[in-house]
Symmetry: C2
Subunit: 372 residues, 2 copies
C-alpha cells in the first residue's frame, strides 16, 4: 500500500482531490467516516419520493469557469437561480435587501435610483460607532437601525447565539445590499443544482478505476497502520493533532424534516425567519429540484452548539487556535506527504466552489512539485 | 486488523454474512470489486426515472419463512407476483406451460382435469429414449415433441449454446408443467420486489456501525497484506485457487437497455423468445416496480460466453472441477478461517433466497463452533 494515496473524507474536497490524483495515474483510497459519500452536500430521495439535502440546502454557485467546467464534466446541471424571502412583520420580503424590500418594509414607492439616498438617510438617523466597534456598527452604518433590527439582529442571535454587539466588526465587512431589483440570493455567473443530485455528482467524481472507497471507517482507526505516499486530509483540523492546542468550535444545526400533504408549502426554496420562531429558516426542496408531487418535504433548521460540525466560529480564540494548527499543517505539507484541504481541515468558511477550487489548486501544486 | 472479519463481495451472500457477523459484535470489512454494492441484483434509477436491474431481472421468491423474515427486517416489499409469457408462433402464451398454454397452442378447449391426459397423449405420439439419454428426452417424456420444439429446444440452444440432445439428462429432472390455470412463474409462498429496490435492500443490510465497505477494490490485491480472523469469500471459486484445477465456465449475458416513448412495451414484466430473434427474453421493469411514467425502459438479453459470470454451466467437466475445488474449500473451512458461500464461491445455481439461506446457515455454524 506504500504506493497509494489516502484521501480522508469523501465530500467535495476529498472527491475532487481523489479524482485529480487518480487521473494522474495514482492509486487512490478514499476513507469516509460516514456511511455515505458526498459530505455535507449529501442528498437522497425520501419516502415520499422527494429529494432532500440531509445536512441543509446546498445551491451551487461560482464565478470560476474552471470550477464550473470541472463539475460539469460529471453531471448535468439544472439552472436554478436561488431566491430567498425573509419573513418579517408577517410578510415575505426579498432578501438580501433590495429596492423591493425597502418599499415593502417602509411602505414607500421609490425608484431604483433613489435607493442609495434612502439608505443614507436611514443611516444618518441611526446611532452607531464610527469606526465600527462591533458587528452591529458594521450593519447599521450600511442600512440603518431599522433594517438592522428587522433582518440582522435576531438572526445573528439565533444563528450564532451571540449578540451582534459582542461580535468583532471583522465578521462581515460588507453586508450584501442591492440598490436595484435583483432578488437573487447569489449573483455569481454560474448557478445551479446537479440535475440528479449532489450525491450523484460526488459519486461520478469518484467513479474512476483507480479510486477505491471505504465507507464507515474512521481514519484515526487506520492512521497508525498505513503508510501512504500522500494523505489528503479533509477532516476536522483540531482532531488531526489530537486537539493539542485546544478544541476548535463549530456551530451545528438540528435539522427537522416534515412532509405535508400539499403541493407547495412556501413561495420559494428558502424563507428566513430572523425574528419569529426558533428556527432560522425553512427550506422547501421542490423549488430547487423542480420535482412535481402532491406532497412536499420541508426542512426546519435550529442552530445548535452540539452535533455534526457545520460552520466555523470566527471568534478571536478560534482564530488564534487555528493559526497554531496551521503552522503544523504547513510543516506537514512541506514534507510532501500531506495536503490539508476543505472547510473542516482548513477551518475556513468555504462555499462548495471554493472547496473545489482549493482542492484543484493544492493537489495541482503537489503534483507539480512531485514531477518538477 | 487481526480482529477483523473480511467479507469478499457485497452481494446478497456477502451482505447477509456481514450483517450477522456484525450483530455478533465482530468488526467487519466488506471488500467489493465493483463500484457498487448489491452484486448482480444491483438496481438503479435510469435517466428516465425508471428503476432497472443492471444485471437482468430479479424477482424475490422463497418458501423459507426465515429468509423472508430476514429480508423484511431491512425493507418493505411490493407484493409483486411474477408472470412470464412466451412468444411462440406470433402469440403471447403463458409460461410455464399450463392449461391455457395448451389451449392456445393446440387450438383446443379442454378443462383443467383433461390436461394430464392430453399431455400423456402427446408424449405417447412422440419419439424419445426411455430412460432418457439427454435433456431432450427428459422434456419430451413429460410434454411431448411439439411443446418441446416450441418452448425448450431453441431456447436451450440460445441460452446455453448447446443442443439439448448433447446435454446430460441431469440438467433438469423435472420441468415445470401446470395442469391448472395458475400462470405465475413461481409458486413460492413469499414473493415480491423490495419496494425501494435491491440496492436499497443490500445497503440496509450493510448499514451497521460495525460494517465498513470498500468498493472498487479487488480482494486479490489485498489478500497477501491482511490477516483477518475470518474471511467470508463470495467470489469466483476457481479464482481463489488461481485456477489450479482449470477454469470453471460461466454463461454470461449481453444486456441491451432501450427506452421507448410509450407507456408499456409488452403485457407483462418478462416475455421469453424461444424461437424468434437472438435475444432470449425482454424484461419491462415497470410491471415489477409499479412505477408510472409516459416512457418505459426494457432490457433485451443476449446470452454470451464472455462477460460477467452469471450462470454456472453444469457440464461434466465443470462439475468434476468443482468437486476438486470444493475439497480444498472443505479444508479451509475446517480451519475456521474461511467460509465460502454464494453462487460464485460454491459454483451452484442458487436463487437469491438460497444464497441468503446458505449464508445464514454457514455463518451460524461458524459462530457456533467459535463459542462452542
Amino acid at each position: 500500500m506504500q504506493d497509494h494515496v489516502l484521501v480522508v473524507g469523501a465530500g467535495l474536497a476529498g472527491a475532487t482531490a481523489a479524482r485529480i490524483l487518480a487521473e494522474s495515474n495514482l492509486r487512490v483510497i478514499v476513507v469516509e467516516r460516514r456511511k455515505h459519500v458526498g459530505g455535507n452536500c449529501y442528498d437522497y430521495t425520501d419516502e415520499n419520493g422527494i429529494t432532500v439535502h440531509l445536512y441543509g440546502p446546498h445551491i451551487f454557485h461560482t464565478n470560476s469557469r474552471e470550477v464550473w467546467n470541472f463539475v460539469n464534466r460529471f453531471c448535468e446541471f439544472r439552472y436554478y437561480q436561488h431566491r430567498v424571502l425573509s419573513f418579517v412583520e408577517g410578510r415575505f420580503v426579498p432578501f438580501p435587501i433590495n429596492r423591493d424590500t425597502i418599499c415593502e418594509v417602509f411602505g414607500v414607492n421609490i425608484g431604483v435610483e433613489e435607493v442609495e439616498d434612502f439608505l443614507k438617510d436611514e443611516v444618518r438617523r441611526s446611532n452607531f460607532n464610527d469606526p465600527p466597534k462591533n458587528f452591529r456598527d458594521v450593519v447599521v452604518s450600511q442600512v440603518g437601525e431599522r433594517l438592522y433590527e428587522l433582518f440582522f439582529k435576531n438572526y445573528t442571535i439565533k444563528q450564532w447565539n451571540r449578540d451582534p454587539e459582542e461580535l468583532s466588526p471583522d465578521v462581515a465587512k460588507r453586508i450584501p445590499v442591492r440598490y436595484g431589483r435583483d432578488d437573487r440570493y447569489f449573483s455569481d455567473r454560474y448557478q445551479g443544482i446537479p440535475a440528479r443530485g449532489y450525491t450523484h455528482l460526488v459519486e461520478r467524481i469518484l467513479d474512476h478505476p483507480k479510486i477505491s472507497i471505504v465507507t464507515n471507517m474512521d481514519y484515526f482507526e487506520l492512521r497508525d497502520h498505513v503508510k501512504p505516499k500522500l494523505t489528503v486530509y479533509t477532516g476536522e483540523l483540531d482532531r488531526f493533532f489530537d486537539c493539542v492546542y485546544g478544541k476548535l468550535e463549530y456551530r451545528s444545526l438540528r435539522l427537522v424534516f416534515k412532509t405535508y400533504d400539499m403541493e407547495y408549502y412556501q413561495p420559494v426554496a428558502v424563507v428566513n425567519y430572523p425574528n419569529d420562531y426558533d428556527w432560522t429558516r425553512i427550506t422547501e426542496f421542490k423549488h430547487m429540484t423542480g420535482e412535481r408531487s402532491s406532497r412536499t418535504t420541508v426542512l426546519f433548521e435550529y442552530p445548535s452548539a452540539e452535533g455534526e460540525p457545520f460552520y466555523v466560529v470566527l471568534t478571536r480564540d478560534n482564530i488564534e487556535r487555528r493559526e497554531k494548527y496551521m503552522e503544523e499543517v504547513k510543516k506537514l505539507e512541506k514534507s510532501g506527504e500531506y495536503i490539508f484541504v476543505g472547510r473542516l481541515a482548513e477551518y475556513l468558511y468555504y462555499n462548495m466552489d471554493q472547496v473545489i477550487e482549493a482542492s484543484i489548486r493544492k493537489v495541482g501544486e503537489w503534483l507539480k512539485n512531485r514531477t518538477g
